[in-house]
């Protein structure tokens, strides 16, 4: 069952979204979002919401945040033209290089922002969850930067497949807590972080890594990640001579996608989110929440989720740990329902191929998550020759080497 909005309601909500009026006071993006959390955490969420209201757009906070983005994260990140990929695809391809941000992915934009907020709110320590380990690394680094202890919850399965990042977190001074419960991936890590948070809701700051969960997280994370789209929009005008015809980003929880897309919502740009198609369409074979899921409540938010008919949340499969999640940010659920953003999927195999193609044409080893965006952008390009394309290159692929070494390098198709 797809979620249907009446046409006039869809139009009204899209307009509100473009005008920055969402989420509403109850943390809703139309029917999606909200705050479904245990009573023990309600005061903590209210405190966080108040902190977001008081500090996020405060001039002092913003100037400190901007300074950290500039001097510590290394922003603005480059917009890179991809001439050899463009020649192959028949479109004019531009890459927004979040892989060049400190720690190697867009995650750091959010992590340093929330770490500064945690400091302002007087937290004694920070907890975070991680899937691919990029948010864990970014949180560990950001906490070291602001001087707060950090514990990262990570599923045992992810610890296996993202080993380099686990070591990085340790070296950056974080404690890594292996989560052996549930599906032992990102969803279980979030559950476990929430369980830890309820033991000391006033002393702990929960640094959530994606635009998911209960209000105000989807809003907070979007605000901190929108720097991606804001920069990319201006860079496209300056370097490419105009806005793209289409923009692509991979979607797990959806933080890099909302960061890239949000500032482009009001423009005449086709926006396409690419989910993890895994090995097939069946429940459990993929993590394509928006393309194959149904509405429900998961981890604090009413959104699209992968569940069975009894409302039990299903395990997912993706070659990429960062997309391997049964839910998605509620704002994406709304933007899908309004028709403003299309959500599609790319399979494990297509993504691996796209990763190799980018390596050999542009000398960029991108993350397996990001490869999904390339895989679909490539297909789209075949049907839309001559168009200008922007891809959110959300992170670098060094962390994926343990997975990639299982797949032999394919025969070079372009020996030049």
């Amino acid at each position: 069952m797809k979620f249907q909005l009446p046409a006039d309601e869809a139009g009204r909500l899209l307009k509100a979204s473009i005008n920055g009026e969402l989420p509403d006071a109850r943390g809703r993006f139309g029917p999606f979002g909200g705050r479904y959390v245990p009573e023990t955490l309600v005061p903590a969420f209210e405190r966080l919401e108040m902190g977001v209201r008081d500090y996020l757009h405060d001039a002092d906070f913003q100037s400190e945040y901007r300074k950290e983005l500039r001097e510590w994260v290394g922003r603005p990140t480059a917009l890179t033209h991809a001439p050899r990929l463009s020649e192959r695809w028949g479109t004019d391809v531009w890459l927004k290089r979040e892989d060049l941000a400190h720690t190697g992915a867009h995650k750091v934009n959010n992590a340093i922002g929330q770490a500064l907020l945690a400091k302002r709110l007087g937290a004694k320590r920070v907890i975070a969850e991680t899937g691919a380990g990029q948010h864990g690394v970014a949180s560990a680094a950001a906490c070291a930067r602001v001087g707060l202890p950090c514990s990262v919850y990570m599923g045992a399965v992810d610890i296996q497949r993202q080993a380099p990042n686990v070591d990085r977190m340790y070296r950056l001074g974080a404690e890594v807590v292996a989560v052996e419960t549930g599906d032992k991936t990102l969803r279980a890590a979030i559950d476990e972080a929430m369980r830890e948070w309820v033991t000391d809701p006033s002393g702990i700051y929960y640094l959530l890594g994606s635009a998911v969960g209960a209000h105000p997280y989807p809003y907070l994370v979007r605000e901190l990640q929108s720097v991606i789209g804001t920069e990319a929009r201006q860079q496209m005008i300056d370097q490419a001579g105009g806005l793209p015809d289409a923009a692509f980003a991979c979607v797990g929880g959806g933080s890099n996608a909302i960061g890239l897309f949000y500032p482009l919502l009001g423009d005449d740009v086709e926006l396409i989110g690419v989910e993890a198609g895994g090995t097939g369409d069946g429940l459990g074979q993929n993590a394509a929440t928006l393309t194959t899921g149904t509405p429900g409540v998961l981890q604090g938010s009413y959104t699209m989720i992968l569940q069975d008919e009894d409302g039990q949340v299903q395990e997912t499969h993706s070659i990429s740990a960062g997309l391997d999640y049964s839910g998605v940010g509620p704002e994406h659920a709304l933007l899908q329902a309004t028709g403003r953003i299309s959500y599609v999927s790319a399979s494990d195999d297509e993504s691996l191929e796209a990763l190799e193609e980018l390596c050999e044409t542009e000398g960029i080893l991108t993350a397996l998550e990001t490869s999904h965006a390339y895989a679909y952008a490539r297909k789209w390009s075949q049907e839309n020759p001559g168009k200008r394309v922007l891809i959110g290159n959300s992170g670098r692929g060094d962390k994926d080497m343990p997975t990639l070494t299982r797949f032999p390098v394919r025969i070079r198709t372009d020996a030049s």
Binding site: E39, T40, R195, P201, G311, V313
Partner: protein, 256 residues
């Protein structure tokens, strides 16, 4: 009369007998689905109210014991539909039942059908740990239209003005979470428990039942002098896990 009042009456009856009401919690269909009704009958023999846990894939407010029981029950095919079917075949137990469920299985089932079937199977109220007051209107209305209640949870972290709102909105009894933490903790009950339970009891017209971290007769006695009832979850699930008859364990805690 709303059926949620059966809960209030059962707890008051225990109190009139000079003891705190005992509210045992079981995860439906754990450890063996085939034993569900048998276990329920045994537990209902001693308990004043029985809380039936609906297994869920993401039990975020629960500790290891309930998580484990929940996952095993799901693996064994336990679902809300199955539970209602089993309860229907059982007939009246005379002990009133409450269901504890995370929100998503209830959403998937549909609120109206949920309220109807719950009423028909002796369920008097629901406890939904991930549904705070601000989000609960729709479910509360659906339940109350069938005379069922939505039991509100309060915690030591709940501010005083919010406490009054929650207590007033609750039906059947008020669920006072004893600790900031998850179920099944072994840290013991907090030192200022008496003060907290007295505060909740003083603002509540309904009986207050304390839950989380209650594991033995000393704990029941401890909360019993400041609350109308004690909810025993993880400790009982551990007894069931080992295959023992739950009745001697529960009788040692009090109960009817």
């Amino acid at each position: 009369m709303p059926v949620s009042k059966r809960l209030t009456a059962a707890i008051t009856t225990a109190n009139v007998q000079g003891r705190p009401a005992l509210v045992p919690f079981i995860t439906a269909g754990y450890p063996e689905p085939g034993e569900f009704i048998n276990t329920l009958r045994e537990v209902a023999e001693v308990g004043d109210v029985v809380e039936i846990g609906i297994p869920f894939s993401d039990p975020m407010a629960d500790g290891m014991t309930i998580q484990r029981s929940s996952f095993v029950a799901l693996q064994n095919g336990v679902s809300l539909r199955w539970i209602f079917d089993e309860l229907e075949m059982t007939g009246d137990l005379s002990t009133p039942l409450v269901m504890m469920s995370y929100l998503n299985p209830l959403l998937a089932y549909g609120y109206e059908k949920l309220a109807r079937r719950a009423r028909a199977t002796g369920v008097c109220a629901f406890i939904v740990p991930d549904l705070p007051f601000e989000e609960c209107d729709e479910l509360r209305r659906a339940l109350e239209s069938e005379g069922l209640g939505l039991i509100q949870l309060v915690t030591p972290a709940t501010p005083d003005d919010r406490l009054k709102t929650l207590v007033a909105a609750s039906r059947g009894f008020v669920y006072a979470v004893t600790i900031t933490g998850i179920t099944g903790g072994d840290t013991g009950l907090p030192d200022d428990l008496a003060e907290y339970l007295d505060k909740v009891s003083s603002v509540s017209k309904l009986p207050v039942c304390a839950g989380f971290g209650i594991r033995n007769s000393a704990d029941v006695e401890n909360v019993g002098s400041h609350a109308a009832g004690a909810i025993v979850g993880s400790a009982l699930v551990e007894v069931l896990e080992s295959g023992d008859d739950p009745r001697p364990f529960l009788r040692a805690l009090g109960g009817k």
